[in-house]
């Protein structure tokens, strides 16, 4: 790196102080997965990648720590309302040098603290300048240190397509944050960002991946371009968008931009901005949870958004999960006979996941399955029992009737025996549950 690239920040700051500031600054970025890439070590350096990804630790908020997630710098010329690093905020600023990032990554990786590097950045001087800094750093890590672990790079909207392309050949995954579900929302929240500038690099990366696939079929040793695909994230609950709007955007991103993941981030009013909601009950975690559940239904359970939500029913039921909610509204399809139903229908039964459905399909070739077998296979019977028969019999005599089933499913929740929600410590969820009787009437 030449002198022209020197950064503004006091170079005498210790790596520890920088790590604290730049880790703190990066923590609101949700994506931390290390999946989608499978690469053996070539014997020349350190590292490999595992298709399913590995979580190396869990932070105090219960989120996984898989990558060394840092900003290169938290200097930023933009002034996005929701962002802690906006230029109008008076927060301590710092910047790493490429060498510091490389050393931290290598030493953490050797000790099995992390699965790789997640490098994002505030906008220093210009998008191009910033993107170049990121590329420089990662290039050094890949070539000088011969690091073969996972690297996630944030594409800076507005950066030169050539720089984005260069980054794509160094990274396993790239992401461009959509930030807000609607273009109007983005305009209101981030005056310096434009939807167009976000979608452009997203499209470029998508095309890059497709071209790379073609190259790889011709030349097996061609360099990989974003092997683990690309992801994005949206802030939830800062603006009055409905779940239907958000999920429709997500579905579009999966279908039209071939994204690997869309992340949803419950809004935290870090700047105490008066124009943004105060959210007295804390970040909308339950809503975020329901969106993720629905996201899984889109990606692995062959659901479409229009099956889950409609313009008339634009938000998810807080009391039961989207899959059970869908099932109780389609009772004409149930009960399903476990020993005969096809795989797609098995997947639609509440309490049956992808693994259980696969095991059912392969195990029933050996003979018919009983409820006892299903339990061993991993089916959650207390949820599934309203929707299934084994050899023509239900587990218990139950009514196949919407209110009855919903009452039973939520009764289990209230007793703490039902759906396992990832948060309940403060009891706010219980309050929301008690609103439920008014909602179904």
């Amino acid at each position: 790196m030449d002198k022209g690239m020197e950064v503004r920040i006091s170079p005498q700051m210790s790596v520890m102080d920088k790590l604290k500031i730049l880790g703190e600054a990066a923590k609101y970025d949700v994506s931390c997965s290390s999946s989608g890439s499978s690469r053996k070590n070539d014997g020349q350096g350190i590292g490999n990648t595992v298709a399913a990804g590995l979580c190396h630790s869990f932070a105090a908020d219960g989120r996984c720590v898989s990558l060394l997630k840092i900003l290169f710098t938290n200097e930023c010329i933009y002034d996005c309302r929701y962002c802690i690093n906006r230029c109008s905020n008076d927060v301590p600023r710092a910047s790493f040098t490429p060498d510091e990032v490389c050393e931290l990554t290598m030493e953490f990786y050797r000790r099995n603290y992390i699965e790789g590097l997640f490098l994002s950045s505030g906008i220093l001087y210009s998008p191009n300048y910033t993107m170049e800094l990121i590329c420089e750093t990662v290039h050094k890590l890949r070539t000088v240190h011969r690091f073969q672990g996972y690297i996630h790079i944030k594409a800076i909207p507005g950066a030169d397509p050539l720089l984005i392309q260069r980054a794509g050949y160094l990274a396993d995954r790239m992401s461009v944050n959509l930030e807000m579900a609607t273009a109007e929302g983005l305009r209101a929240m981030a005056p310096n960002k434009h939807r167009k500038n976000i979608l452009k690099p997203m499209r470029q990366i998508q095309n890059g991946i497709v071209e790379n696939k073609n190259e790889l079929t011709l030349y097996r040793h061609a360099p990989h371009f974003c092997e683990a695909g690309q992801s994005t994230q949206m802030v939830i609950g800062a603006l009055p968008e409905s779940d239907y709007q958000i999920m429709s955007v997500a579905e579009n991103l999966y279908d039209k931009f071939s994204l690997k993941r869309v992340y949803y981030s419950a809004f935290v009013n870090v700047n105490e901005d008066k124009e943004l909601p105060a959210l007295a009950g804390g970040p909308p975690l339950l809503r975020e949870h329901r969106l993720y559940q629905a996201d899984w239904l889109l990606r692995f359970y062959d659901f479409k958004v229009d099956e889950l939500l409609t313009a008339e029913r634009p938000n998810f039921n807080t009391a039961i999960d989207p899959k059970a909610d869908w099932a109780v509204r389609h009772l004409e399809l149930f009960p399903v006979e476990i020993n005969r139903a096809d795989y797609r229908l098995l997947l639609r039964i509440p309490g049956v996941g992808v693994k259980s459905a696969r095991r059912i399909v392969s195990a029933r070739r050996f003979g018919s399955l009983t409820f006892e077998d299903l339990k061993k296979i991993g089916v959650v019977l207390k949820r599934a029992l309203y929707f299934i028969t084994c050899n023509g019999r239900m587990m218990y005599p139950t009514k196949i009737e919407e209110n009855y089933i919903v009452r039973n499913l939520t009764y289990q929740n209230q007793m703490g025996r039902g759906e396992k929600l990832p948060f309940m410590a403060d009891g706010t969820i219980y309050q929301q549950m008690s609103l439920f009787p008014q909602m179904i009437s």
Binding site: V15, M16, L19, K20, G23, E24, A26, K27, Y28, K40, N41, G43, G45, I46, G47, N48, V50, L54, C55, H56, S57, F58, A59, A60, D61, G62, R63, C64, V65, L68, K69, L104, E107, F108, R110, R111, N112, Y113, G149, A266, V268, G282, P283, L285, R359, S362, A363, R365, F366, G367, L369, T370, D373, K376, I377, P422, F423, M424, A425
Partner: protein, 257 residues
Amino acid sequence: MEEKYLICEDSLEGIFTGIYEAYALREGHAHVHIQIGEEDNYRLFATYLHILPDPVKTGKVAQTLLKRLGESAYHWLCRAAASCYLDKGEAVYKAVVDAITDGSGGRVMENLRNSYVQRTFELARYTANEAHFETEFIRFQELEQGILFSRIGPRNNVIPFIMPHFADRLCPENFMIYDENRELFGVHPAKQEWYLVSAQGTVKPEQFQYSEKEEAYQELFKAFHETIGIKERENRRLQRQMCAYRYQDYMVEFNKK
């Protein structure tokens, strides 16, 4: 007919030798059982045979299983045999017998209607899950000569299943993983094949000296781990659910051992 109990050692060799001997009896399998470790409540009208692990017989059984059941099923059986539950011997033995007699062969692990297969499946899954968690949560510490060292306390014998992962990943490093509960070392010399060493009281990991830089990196990671959590979302219960205390005990960022 009289029941026969083959008392085998708690190891893969022990179980495979047991299976070999059970077939060698040629008395069918309904009344033959494999038991791991001594019986503490002997039954009347039953014969107890002590089986010593034998590398040749183990090899023959392994060969046969690989040939008849295929690699995937074979690995399931190995993982079950590494379990901490002692009924594993009987489960694996009977699952093998059923796989070979009912013709399910390589698809044996799909036959989840069979109670022995169910049990083998459960045990193997437990080992596999624990091995997976250990690959995530192992923390290496750098010793004086740049050797990486990690201490773990798993319930199942997971070292043989996690060594290949680290041998590939940390190919240019010298490293070793120490299982406290079994006093077993997995050792990987840089760019060479890994192997297992049973320590049995001869090596004392407490006396290892750490390199100068080690503490600094531990402090850096602790600081990073602390800053990455979002205060407004704090959820210790979820943290514990995802990463149990028994793993946290060995992890630097949780500041214990």
